[in-house]
């Protein structure tokens, strides 16, 4: 006899709310992966999300966990405050590249350097999504944005910041990797990394960060599918995927390079 089994369904840690994300925006994908991880690790009831300011500002509506909303860039500081008083909770921030790499770089670096036992999901979409597509520290050279209408000029605005690599240089960091969300194979790899990042925290190994290359079809001015192509063709050459720091206890389970 033939019967059916469910091989994929919506994770429990995602709330029932609809997202406000644009069609094809991989913020949604990242949310799903985090939620799946929370389900798998069975930590929904002790996880605390620190949402940030960016398109993901309503993340607290989309996850079914206790959550708060940090001022722009300050999520790692807020997460520090929470984790220090509640070391048994699993604390993660979800931050965009404007939030983490621009205004919040200080808080991110210091949390990492202190080895705060928190997890950061870092969405690099090379642009400020929420405010309408301005240049981010992660925008590519030559990338046209609403605040670099002639394309990012390295002489005026410098070069893309490589957060996963930067973090990997700090001793307090247990896990720092970059993954991409532009196709199924990479999404699967991203998921594994997210899971390892949370496991790093559960094993008290210190700071963990997963940088996810993500699309912003709206502000890039392309269709969702083309946005995925742009990640593959333009972003990945600048932002190589890979493991930049993997603490010893996690190493056996981490795939090299993640490509």
């Amino acid at each position: 006899m033939i019967s059916e089994k469910v091989v994929y369904e919506r994770p429990v840690a995602l709330s029932v709310n609809r997202t406000h994300y644009c069609p094809g925006c991989t913020h949604g994908t990242a949310h799903r992966l985090v939620a799946e991880t929370i389900d798998e690790l069975n930590i929904r009831e002790r996880t605390i999300l620190v949402a940030s300011v960016g398109c993901s500002v309503f993340a607290y509506d989309y996850f079914d966990v206790d959550a708060c909303e940090a001022p722009h860039g300050r999520a790692p500081a807020m997460a520090t405050g929470i984790k220090r008083v509640s070391p048994d909770n699993i604390v993660f921030t979800y931050q965009g590249d404007g939030d983490l790499a621009s205004i919040g770089i200080g808080e991110a670096i210091h949390a990492a350097s202190r080895g705060e036992n928190i997890t950061i999901i870092f969405i690099n979409n090379a642009v400020y999504g929420m405010t309408g597509g301005q240049m981010a520290p992660t925008s590519l050279i030559g990338q046209k944005t609403t605040s670099s209408p002639l394309g990012r000029d390295p002489k005026l605005s410098g070069t893309p910041l490589h957060i996963a690599e930067l973090m990997a240089g700090l001793p307090g960091v247990a896990y720092s990797v970059r993954r991409s969300l532009h196709d199924a194979r990479h999404v699967i790899q991203a998921k594994k990394a997210i899971r390892l990042a949370f496991e790093a925290q559960m094993q008290h190994l210190g700071f963990s960060l997963v940088e996810l290359l993500s699309t912003c079809p709206t502000n890039w001015g392309v269709a969702p599918g083309e946005a995925c192509d742009w990640v593959r063709e333009e972003m990945i050459p600048v932002y190589p995927l890979g493991d930049f720091k993997v603490a010893e206890p996690l190493r056996a389970r981490s795939q090299r390079g993640g490509q």
Binding site: Y8, R10, D183, P224, G225
Partner: protein, 76 residues
């Protein structure tokens, strides 16, 4: 060959078509009607039962609006 099917929550779907691109046997297509939010959702269009239940569509779906089923043989 494995056989499966998917359920798409058309009210959540935003018609981004990432699933359509990801589907190996190309059994997902755009629906002709907008949903109530105004998007054209996708639908399973699989007259020949080519869906394998591989779940790649679900893996890429940003809206988590696909449920994937796969046939299993149940010992009678």
């Amino acid at each position: 060959m494995a056989h499966g099917r998917i359920f798409i929550d058309a009210e959540r779907c935003k018609g981004c078509e990432l699933c359509r691109t990801a589907c190996p046997p190309h059994v997902i297509s755009l629906a002709p009607q907008r949903n109530s939010i105004g998007y054209y959702p996708v639908m399973l269009n699989d007259p020949d039962n080519k869906c394998t239940g591989c779940a790649l569509c679900a893996v890429v779906c940003p809206e988590a609006c696909i449920i994937v089923y796969r046939d299993v043989a149940v010992p009678a």
